[in-house]
């Protein structure tokens, strides 16, 4: 239900216009209260630079921040090695968010009861809305240099219950043979996406990820092509002196970043290349492309136990192919506005499309064992998507974010499936305001609204449409120290 409608129901209708004006005044006061933006923890403490030097708005990198990252978290000024730092310097940042959010999901299948009965007697479809105070997980970011041209990043990350996993663990050899064109990274790391999901400026459940980076067609069993997930592997990347030209090539285990080899012997390649252009007052524009090409298991060695026949971890074979490729553009319109663009053309093997793939996590429903044949007419699922993310940066401390994403199925794996089944469209708007930042800590008041629409994924129950709309509003304090 719309917020204003709720206010009217509660008898506040006459107060509503004043509320708008008061909101404007509050916004004015908050913005007028701006203090100087300073540096953020970890790297900022080391170099004494303001957060705004490297971040368009923390945590999203700007061009200079991207260059710093590409140099292996080095300014290349002969003061990069930790030996130059005060021995008490500890390159760690903690990040967590207390929030209030309201999540509303349409067309949820729920039980119905008849009067006097305690057992469900039927089903119905209704919207379910939940709101309340909540927490994000806790991230421990630690990274930097071990020595000049030896850098590292370790990120233990918890879910909101405090259960930890390693989101990032990597070491990097920088500027091999004195050349910025050759840097080698080993470990678990974020793929070299120019528009980084790990540095996303939005936080809601659906708006806090790039749908394009995680899209899996309905019924598809391939979890391995999620380019937004950190992956285990080896990356070679390089760039020229001012980072105008950059490339990367990664060899990844096809396990979606899961440790202990739970899947099988399969590998994926991820490749990027981009070129930036100096366009005078407009800024530096960058265009590039990426391609993810890999194989992943669809067949599993099984073992019968008390719970029946289960796939053996590490027993994946029957590798089948998948690919994602697209264009990336970062367009700047002066100091205050920019537009980030990512497109994707994706394709999975027909085997994935028919539900073969990740049996270990139960994502896939079928096992491609010897003698299995694909259903007649089964085809590779193919889709196309685009992501548009404009930003308006009022000042380094205040940014307005918008996003539009849509993913459209071009070809369903099973003939006869509605063309639009599983299509996604989502809009996100957000505002991040940093009333202060120091070289010791950072703080942002974050407000966001996300709306996501998915075709055909709701229950039908005789309805004309089974499309599902989900929305979320979130407000909270994003802080690190």
């Amino acid at each position: 239900m719309h917020v204003m409608s709720r206010l009217r129901i509660r008898g506040f209708a006459t107060f509503a216009p004043s509320l708008s004006a008061i909101s404007l005044i509050l916004l004015f006061l908050v913005m007028a209260w701006s203090q100087r933006a300073n540096a953020l923890p970890a790297f900022a403490r080391k170099y004494g630079l303001r957060c705004s030097a490297c971040h368009e708005s923390w945590p999203m990198l700007n061009y200079f921040g991207q260059k710093f990252k590409d140099n292996g978290y080095q300014l290349m000024n002969d003061r990069d090695a930790p030996i130059w730092q005060n021995p008490g310097y500890w390159p760690v940042t903690f990040r967590i968010l207390p929030i209030w959010h309201r999540v509303s999901t349409g067309k949820v299948l729920v039980d119905t009861y008849t009067a006097g009965s305690t057992t469900p007697t039927g089903s119905a479809v209704q919207r379910v809305t939940t709101s309340g105070f909540d927490l994000s997980g806790l991230d421990f970011h630690t990274g930097g240099t071990l020595e000049k041209n030896f850098s590292f990043y370790v990120l233990p990350s918890s879910d909101p219950t405090g259960a930890f996993h390693f989101e990032t663990v990597m070491a990097r050899l920088d500027n091999l043979w004195g050349s910025p064109w050759l840097n080698v990274k080993l470990g678990k790391f974020e793929l070299d996406n120019l528009l980084s999901e790990k540095r996303i400026l939005t936080l809601t459940g659906n708006g806090g990820i790039y749908q394009l980076y995680h899209f899996i067609p309905q019924g598809d069993g391939n979890i391995f092509g999620q380019m937004g997930d950190n992956q285990l592997g080896l990356e070679v990347m390089g760039h020229n002196y001012n980072d105008r030209t950059r490339y990367s090539a990664s060899l990844l285990s096809s396990n979606d970043g899961t440790t202990q080899l739970p899947y099988g012997n399969a590998y994926t390649g991820f490749f990027t290349a981009s070129q930036a252009f100096d366009t005078g007052k407009a800024g530096v524009q960058r265009v590039g492309g990426y391609a993810m090409v890999g194989e992943a298991p669809t067949t599993w060695i099984t073992q019968t136990g008390p719970s029946g026949s289960l796939p053996l971890p590490g027993g994946g074979t029957g590798n089948k192919a998948f690919s994602r490729e697209g264009f990336v553009g970062q367009f700047y319109f002066g100091e205050h506005a920019d537009l980030q663009v990512v497109t994707q053309h994706g394709q999975d093997s027909a085997w994935f499309g028919q539900g073969y793939g990740d049996l270990i996590d139960g994502v896939a429903t079928a096992n491609n064992t010897t003698g299995t044949t694909l259903p007649a007419g089964a085809r590779p699922p193919i889709w196309n998507g685009i992501l548009l993310e404009p930003h308006y940066i009022y000042s380094p401390q205040l940014i307005f974010i918008g996003r539009f994403e849509t993913i459209r199925m071009q070809q369903q794996s099973t003939p006869g499936t509605p063309q639009s089944f599983g299509n996604i469209t989502t809009y996100t708007v957000a505002m991040r305001y940093n009333p202060f930042m120091t070289s010791r800590a950072g703080f942002a008041w974050h407000n966001e609204y996300n709306w996501l629409h998915q075709d055909g994924t709701g229950p039908t129950l005789g309805l004309n449409s089974a499309n599902v709309n989900t929305s979320e509003f979130l407000t909270g304090f994003d802080f690190d120290f």
Partner: protein, 295 residues
């Protein structure tokens, strides 16, 4: 139907919102900005690019103000944490004294000098290489830097020194460079082996009395004002204003200057040709106690 109170509240809110940009400007304004920002001196000219100081305000605030300060006096909020000589203090633009110039000692640098410094950064300090900026951004920042000091209103930049074409490096030139190194007493600060351990090294301070280190040629580090042969030539012929490094333009002839460049490169690990020649010559460090002309 809205009450009068509601209407006034709405109006006040709208006015407050529309006044936002003005308030933000007020936070950044100061007397210097008002006085100099729109004068002809608050522009820069780099080739066919003209930089305008007002256009750099946003970039200066985003990238520079943390060290150089709102008033360009080198007292940004991070400056107090820099501990010279390991981390030099940020440049005070109000003094308009700059190390890296193509112009004679004591004169203002050219716009191109400042433009190059922004992209090159300052090694062995926290000044990064801002090579990610567009040329327009850098030109605007040069103009912005100039608006901080009245010197730019009353003085013109010096005339850049002329650097003759670089001759071929020969053993004879390296030996001649060694003589120059001894004659003008480079070793007193830089040490006889270029290791920044000369007898005066420990006592060096800049013009503001802060400790400062001589350049150690042997670590592979780049000189602050550039590492090309022309840059090295320029450094000792113009001096580094504000530091104990003087200009030797009156003591070293242009041809001798190239000899000295070649000799200095024998200390630098990134120049293997000169080091190899020095090894073949069995070149010994200069003797501080040797009589003049008898090195």
């Amino acid at each position: 139907m809205r009450t009068r109170l509601q209407k006034w509240t709405l109006l006040l809110g709208a006015v407050a919102f529309l006044a936002l940009p003005l308030v933000s400007r007020a936070q950044l304004s100061n007397e210097q900005i008002k006085t100099w920002l729109n004068t002809p001196a608050a522009t820069s000219h780099i080739g066919n690019i003209t930089g305008h100081a007002p256009d750099a305000k946003y970039d200066y605030r985003r990238y520079c103000v943390g060290c150089h300060g709102e008033l360009g006096d080198g007292n940004g909020e991070n400056a107090k944490w820099y501990d010279p000589p390991m981390f030099p203090k940020p440049r005070d633009f109000q003094l308009a004294v700059f190390k890296c110039r193509s112009t004679p000692s004591g004169t203002l640098p050219t716009d191109q000098d400042l433009f190059d410094t922004i992209a090159r950064g300052m090694d062995r300090s926290t000044m990064p290489q801002w090579s990610t900026f567009t040329k327009e951004q850098r030109a605007n920042l040069v103009a912005w830097i100039k608006h901080f000091s009245p010197r730019w209103q009353t003085e013109k930049p010096g005339t850049p020194i002329t650097i003759p074409p670089e001759p071929e490096v020969t053993p004879e030139r390296i030996k001649a460079g060694r003589e120059v190194f001894a004659r003008v007493s480079c070793w007193k600060c830089h040490g006889v082996q270029g290791m920044a351990n000369g007898p005066s090294a420990a006592t060096l301070t800049d013009d503001l009395g802060r400790p400062i280190e001589a350049f150690n040629f042997t670590t592979g580090a780049r000189p602050k004002c550039g590492d090309t042969d022309q840059d090295i030539y320029r450094i000792f012929m113009t001096g580094l204003d504000g530091t104990p490094m003087p200009s030797f333009a009156d003591n070293i002839k242009p041809d001798e200057a190239w000899d000295l460049v070649f000799y200095l490169r024998t200390f630098m690990p990134q120049h293997s040709k000169e080091r190899e020649l020095a090894k073949q010559l069995n070149l010994k460090p200069v003797d501080p106690n040797a009589p003049a002309g008898q090195q």
